[in-house]
């Protein structure tokens, strides 16, 4: 009896998953626990392991296909078994007795897959993504082989059973004492030249390897496959810089009054929302106001059309472990600072916790990237396509400025606006940035 392979539902908000790669060809045999394919959701990318053994009879979707959850994307069964030519689609009704059992089974399995996903996340968090088949892991364990030292030859560099066996067979010859010392001092035997009979590694060789070269030099550079979120970021960045001619304008903003207004509003907003008003929210509000006055900066270039967005939705770049996410705050030109503060804080936390739903990451018309928490002034942000422009925010720093012919110390901030020169030209972009400067230097109109 053939068993359907489902696109797993890995979170309550997951609606679709993108197939990143298949590890098995049609006709290849599959063992329980072996990864069969890798998917990317809006949050993570994960390998999905088989929970039935047999032969991979059918793959209905190719790499990069976006598949709704619970859709049958393939079948595992006995060789020669018949399966439908087309995917039966989402399996939830009773049109097929077998499918029903599979579907019911899948409910439980989904739980399991979620557990697996959790485990995978923990592993990713420890920054040591190790791909190894269960058999490889078992043999490594039985032979006391440190599996991270084994080079995988499977798909995506996965360590397979035969890799571990080869590793054991080809392991450098070393005396028991040398092995222990190597283990205790974390020296990779493969990096040591043995001086004993036939190149056998002796204790003194390990001591020699330890003495002159710091351990850091002995360690090979870590390698990591460009995949998942990193790959998405990489692809999007290269598309943006290669398609949009970027021009970056910078301007110094005097933030004296923003500081004042923040100090005044902070207690009120904190009382209302429980969140502390930060400069980011004031800048979001000011930018939204400026955008509503400059539709060309709030536009999107899609195909050969420039779309002037009616809504002002601000994307806020948020750093997450090993990546970047851009949650979206909607209609910020219409909302007050309290509402923006609450939303920005909540969505920022969700992003850092990797709990954003796809909807919360879609629909931005302009993006703000704030590096003000670092010792950064101006920089050249890359446009979040299909938007027209992006604003980079630097730190606020006290600087001497000339005010009315006298030198005064003012809290200054550099704003960097990158814009797509296909959509707008320098003058309107400069006008927009000047308007933003004007608003932030006279921020009381934000309260109106």
């Amino acid at each position: 009896m053939a068993h359907g392979i489902f696109m797993p539902k890995l979170s309550s908000t997951m609606e679709t998953g993108t197939i990143l790669q298949w590890f098995k060809e049609e006709g290849e045999s599959v063992e329980i626990g072996e990864p069969i394919f890798e998917i990317m959701t809006d949050k993570i990318n994960i390998e999905v392991e088989a929970y039935e053994e047999g032969v991979l009879l059918k793959r209905y979707f190719d790499v990069d296909a976006v598949v709704p959850v619970n859709t049958i994307i393939g079948y595992i069964g006995e060789e020669g078994e018949n399966v439908p030519d087309e995917s039966p689609g989402i399996q939830s009704d009773e049109d097929d007795a077998e499918a029903v059992t599979s579907a019911q089974a899948s409910e439980a399995e989904v739980e399991e897959v979620v557990a697996v996903a959790a485990a995978a996340e923990t592993r990713a968090a420890s920054n040591e993504k190790l791909r190894a088949t269960p058999a490889a892991k078992r043999i490594a364990r039985e032979n006391q082989v440190e599996i991270s030292l084994v080079a995988g030859t499977g798909p995506e560099g996965r360590i397979q059973e035969r890799d571990v066996i080869d590793f054991i067979k080809n392991a450098p010859k070393a005396t028991p004492l040398a092995r222990k010392l190597a283990q205790s001092e974390q020296v990779d035997l493969a990096s040591v030249t043995g001086t004993g009979v036939n190149g056998k590694i002796l204790k003194q060789d390990i001591a020699g390897a330890l003495a002159p070269a710091p351990v850091a030099e002995v360690k090979p550079a870590q390698r990591k496959k460009l995949a998942g979120m990193r790959k998405v970021i990489a692809d999007r960045m290269i598309t943006s810089v290669t398609t949009a001619p970027h021009v970056t304008l910078t301007s110094d903003f005097d933030m004296t009054k923003v500081k004042e207004i923040r100090a005044q509003l902070l207690p009120t907003i904190e009382k209302q929302t429980g969140y502390r008003l930060s400069f980011t929210e004031i800048i979001i509000k000011a930018t939204s106001l400026a955008l509503s006055r400059f539709p060309s900066v709030n536009a999107a270039l899609i195909g050969d059309e420039i779309i002037y967005n009616e809504q002002v939705n601000i994307g806020l770049a948020v750093a997450v472990p090993d990546g970047l996410m851009v949650p979206v705050l909607r209609d910020t030109n219409l909302k007050g600072l309290a509402a923006i503060t609450a939303e920005a804080k909540e969505i920022g936390k969700k992003a850092r916790d990797m709990k954003l739903s796809p909807a919360e990451m879609q629909g931005s018309t302009f993006t703000i990237s704030n590096l003000g928490m670092y010792a950064i002034d101006g920089f050249t942000p890359i446009i979040n396509q299909p938007e027209t422009a992006i604003l980079g925010i630097g730190r606020i720093q006290d600087k001497p400025v000339v005010v009315n012919g006298a030198i005064e110390v003012r809290p200054m901030m550099v704003a960097s606006l990158s814009f797509d020169h296909r959509v707008i030209d320098g003058a309107p972009a400069a006008e927009f940035l000047t308007e933003l400067k004007r608003i932030l230097e006279n921020p009381y109109e934000l309260l109106v």
Binding site: Q144, T175, P176, L177, K180, L181, Q183, S184
Partner: protein
Amino acid sequence: MSKKYDLVIVGGGPGGYVAALHAAKNGQKVALIEADHLGGTCLNRGCIPSKTLLRHTEIIESIQEAKEWGIETGELRLSLDKMRKRKDDVINKLRSGIAFLMKQDKVDVFNGLGIIESSNAVKVVGQDSEELLEAGKIIIATGSTPVVPPIPGLDSVSFETSDSIFDIKEIPESIAIIGGGVIGVEFATIFASLNSRVTIIEMADRLAPLEDVEASKLLEKTLKKKGIKILTSTKVERFEKAGEKVATVCTDKKGKEVVVESSTLIVSVGRKPNLSATSKLNLEMAGPFIKVNNKMETSIPNVYAVGDVVGGFQLAHVASAEGIVAANNASGELDKIDYHVVPRCIYTLPEIASVGLSEADAKAKGLNVRTEKFDHAGNGKSLAAGDTTGFTKIVYDEKLGEIIGVTMVGQHVTEMISEASAFMYLEGTVEEAAKMIHPHPSVVESFYEAAQNIVHKLKKEKKLVR
């Protein structure tokens, strides 16, 4: 026309003849010069004759012990002549064995005193002829001779050294042995079994002062049981004639004068290098010895030195190992001496054998070591043999289980020590030693048991790296 050789070796002892054979096998044209008999001190005046006599001691002791086991013989009659003849037979057999090997490997052996004229010429001074050999390279392996200390009165009394003692004609009624080192304690054992009254006078606070303290103590205890008188921390002040006998006048550790009268006096306080061949070379020295590096090279290019003449362990097997290193380097094959694993044996009854560092030496070197001792009283084979004197002690590192040193005392330990040496040389740890299957019953199980005890302890303490 002088004869030309790739390599000329001066001295035919275990350093020189082994080097000669090795260089010849490396394809070198080799000359070996020996003033006396092939085999050097070891074969003619040291290891071999003493072991031959110690075998007699072993049998004498066994016969005495056997009485209690229900095996009785008549009165024990000892013939020193026959014993000496057996000793000479053994020596002659081994000498001719070396001569045969030289011939087989086409090493030219010159009988005469070798005098090194320059870094490429050696003169052989025979009984009534002289010959100059041209040498590409030279190995000095001239060995050592017993030290005769400048103690007042020694020149006016008759005394023996290890060179002369083997050829005495009668079993002495009494013997005083000056020096309780390896040579002294072996002679004490031999002569005690021949019913001489033996006194050992040692300046240090214990016998065999370079060995493990517990081994020294056990040796002292057993030698005393055999009737040997032992004076430690005792300094010899002078010798005097006392009729037919010699009076050795000493000061004991309390400053009290002690006089030991004996019919025979043996002086065994150490050995000094024999530099008879090298007076014309301006060699750099290390104390009284010739200075060499780990390739056995002296300060003069193409001149090597090995064995007792360079000091160090002053053991036959070390000389041979150094000889091979020198021969390889002289043949153009880079080699270096490694003194990491050198077994040391004392053939008293009980025997003492050790390898690596003793506990005290390891601690002096700043190593964090522990020891494990297994007593032969718990060993089946020792009990069956009726000799449970002895122990095996392993000095080890608790983290890696490295065997730092091993000391064994008891019967057969000079054979058993090679197992410990092999583990150390191949860098096996206590874990492998505890796992390897040992024959049962055998005395060497004591090593196995000690290793197992260590592993159990370390496992319990979770100390071992795994």
